[in-house]
């Protein structure tokens, strides 16, 4: 389920601001699948064309867990723009995701 999505929107007039998101999952559990689906739909609706999601499966790359201080799964880490922000959970609570990723500011 390693999905790399990188889209750049040409319509953006603002200086291009790429959102780098990492999604840590553990195997294809329902939680992981839900989380990915939720994240993708968020990005599509709010950050269309200027986001990149990297999905890391810790089952395959357990050594990567240490770097981003992964504890809970699933977990989204916003690497860019700074500062780093994290959300844990399957992202079913939309309001929390908006707050967590600071998407409100980006949208406005």
């Amino acid at each position: 389920m390693k999905i790399k999505t990188a889209k750049r929107s040409a319509s953006q007039s603002k200086p291009a601001k790429l959102w780098q998101l990492r999604l840590y999952v553990m195997d294809q559990t329902p939680k992981s699948v839900t989380a990915f689906a939720n994240l993708k739909s968020f990005c599509e609706s709010h950050l269309k064309g200027r986001y990149r999601i990297t999905v890391i499966d810790l089952l395959k790359q357990p050594q990567l867990a240490k770097g981003d201080q992964i504890l809970a799964i699933p977990m989204v880490v916003r690497k860019l723009p700074k500062p780093v922000r994290t959300i844990i959970g399957n992202l079913s609570d939309t309001e929390r995701v908006l707050v967590g990723l600071d998407l409100r500011a980006a949208v406005n």
Binding site: Y24, M26, K31, T34, A35, N38, L58, L59, P62, Q63, A65, K66, Q69, I70, L71, A72, I73, P74, M75, P83, V84, R85, T86, I87, I88, G89, N90, L91, S92, D93, T94, R96, V97, V99, G100, L101
Partner: protein, 587 residues
């Protein structure tokens, strides 16, 4: 440490144990922590949880070849390495050699947003990865409870923790989980409900301004363990727990006797001094000469070539050497030759446990044959009575196990009954010498006596001892009808006795002279009487003679008158010739 407990109970039912390598802890737990199970170590701030856990890992890696994973939730890897380095643990080196893996887990709550369901699989992955990377047998989670502060959803957390402990057991690792002490329960977040195999409680208490750490095994499922609270301390070689009660009273004993350095005192102790390896108590009020006797003992031992360790809690080494020099004890050359070592510390410097551990360390390093503690009572002030007794017991046990002769001086307060005040300690001692002051005649004099001496015939006499330029002199105290006399009173009594003897001698001479005189007088009387008698006898003779003469004259006169009356004229002439005087007188 591991083997000596392997005999009791049925061997088949025994729980496999994982030795911690921590001094004393393995004795209390009967061999270590339960192998392959989690152990909870809880306690308040600053009582040594992290250190205990870290030492468990380090010793496991170094001594038992069991690599370990340290998952730290509070301290970073760098901090941890620095912290345990001060205890002589080379954590960094062990990490480099892949004996220990450190993983710092940190979540800042403010940076984390929760949205929907999650689990702690990430933690499992990290832990599992760390374990697998070095083949770890031991795991430390320090302090897992930090998660409660990081993750808002307690329900998920609790469920995951339960799963974590199950998972650790399945992994077969021996885990130590540290947790903060809670107010009404063992841990703040009730972790004890998940870890049910072994719970160790640490505690840090302050008594009389001196802090002591305590360790207690609250629970150890499936194994016998010491249930008492044991003092422990953190030294420069890690944690050491010192069990108060020694396992058994089975010291080897020696029949060898060692001299005290004071010949008369040896004489009082059956003539040959103390037994080697015995513990000796020397009590007395201040200024009775305890340190002097102790120094004498030390000097005698060191001169015999025995290493002597002198713990002084009141005077500095130089002060003792100087003071003893004034009474003729030359300690300095012995110190220089390395036979005598002084160890001075203020009693209030640290707690009883620390003192004890320091003493143990010194004794282990110097390997003395004789240990002197001057005075043990100084240490007594740094703990409660029972703690002190426990400490002395452990010290004596330790010394006896090594056949070290120990001499403890003890300061008794003036006015107290000497015997009573030492009741706590005296029963542990093999010999007890009491020093006392006798006051009187405007002076104080020192006496000593042997109150008890196990296993030897000892003197019951009170002896006076004098401190002079050339050391200690034990002399007989005067014990007479008027009590014990010492010092000048003893001298006075001696001269008094001499005078009395002299006086009676003079009296006898006088009496003799009187008798002599009487005899002379009698003799004189006798001779007087004799001369009287002789005089009288002479008189008598004279009288008798006179009587004879006058009879004759009468006859003559009768004859004369007969002549006159024409008697024979020749008769008259004859009488006149024979007695002319009479004839004249009668003429």
């Amino acid at each position: 440490m591991k083997t000596n407990r392997s005999t009791p109970v049925s061997p088949g039912a025994r729980l496999p144990k994982c030795p911690t390598g921590i001094q004393g802890l393995d004795e209390i737990t009967g061999g270590g922590l339960p192998r392959g199970r989690p152990t909870l170590v809880c306690g308040g701030a600053g009582c040594g949880k992290t250190l205990l856990a870290a030492e468990f890992l380090v010793r496991g890696a170094v001594q038992f070849d069991e690599p370990g994973v340290l998952m730290a939730f509070e301290e970073t890897e760098v901090e941890l390495k620095a912290n345990v380095a001060s205890l002589g643990f080379d954590l960094a080196g062990l990490v480099r050699r892949k004996k220990i893996a450190i993983d710092y887990v940190h979540i800042e709550r403010s940076e984390v947003q929760e949205s929907g369901e999650y689990d702690l699989e990430g933690l499992f992955v990290r832990l599992g990865h760390a374990i697998d990377s070095i083949g770890a047998k031991r795991v430390v989670l320090d302090t897992l409870e930090a998660l409660f502060a990081s993750l808002p959803n307690e329900a998920i957390l609790r469920a995951e923790l339960r799963r974590l402990f199950r998972w650790l057991k399945d992994k077969g690792v021996t885990a130590v989980i540290t947790a903060e002490r809670g107010r009404e329960q063992l841990t703040r977040h009730g972790l004890e409900e998940y870890v049910s195999d072994c719970v160790i409680l640490l505690d840090h208490r302050v008594y009389d301004q001196i802090a002591t750490r305590h360790l207690r095994v609250v629970k150890y499922r499936g194994a016998l363990h010491g249930t008492n609270e044991f003092p422990f301390l953190i030294g420069d070689k890690g944690i050491s727990v010192l069990p108060i009660t020694s396992l058994a009273l089975n010291h080897k004993v020696s029949n060898e006797r060692i001299a005290t350095g004071i010949p008369r005192l040896d004489a009082m102790l059956g003539g040959r001094g103390f037994f080697r390896g015995s513990s000796i108590l020397l009590t007395g009020t201040s200024g009775t000469g305890k340190t002097i006797i102790a120094a004498n003992f030390a000097q005698a031992a060191a001169r015999r070539g025995e290493r002597t360790l002198f713990f002084s809690f009141e005077e500095s080494p130089n002060q003792i050497i100087r003071n003893m020099h004034s009474i003729g004890l030359r300690l300095e050359p012995l110190v220089k030759r390395g036979l005598l070592r002084f160890q001075s510390a203020r009693p209030s410097l640290y707690g009883l446990e620390m003192h004890l551990a320091t003493m143990f360390k010194e004794i282990a390093a110097f390997q003395p044959a004789v240990v002197i503690v001057d005075p043990i009572t100084s240490l007594m002030d740094s703990g409660t009575a029972s703690e002190c007794k426990g400490m002395v017991t452990r010290l004596i046990d330790y010394l006896k196990a090594g056949q070290v002769t120990s001499l403890f001086t003890s300061l008794t307060q003036g006015g107290q009954a000497l015997e009573q005040s030492e009741s706590a300690m005296s029963s542990l001692m093999d010999a007890w010498i009491l020093l006392q002051d006798f006051e009187g005649n405007g002076e104080r004099n020192r006496v000593l006596y042997v109150l008890k001496a196990r296993g030897m015939k000892h003197s019951n006499q009170i002896r006076e001892f004098l401190i002079s330029d050339h050391g200690i002199d034990v002399v007989d105290a005067y014990i007479g009808p008027s009590g014990v006399l010492t010092g000048s009173a003893r001298a006075a009594q001696n001269s008094l006795e001499k005078a009395a003897v002299l006086a009676s001698q003079q009296e006898a001479a006088q009496l003799k002279r009187a008798v002599e005189r009487k005899r002379a007088a009698l003799e004189r009387q006798i001779s007087g009487l004799r001369s009287d008698y002789e005089t009288e006898a002479e008189e008598l003779r004279r009288i008798a003679e006179q009587v004879g003469t006058s009879t004759l004259m009468l006859t003559t006169e009768r004859a004369a008158s007969g002549l006159l009356r024409q008697a024979d004229i020749k008769v008259v002439a004859a009488i006149t010739r024979s007695n002319p005087r009479n004839g004249k007188a009668h003429r």
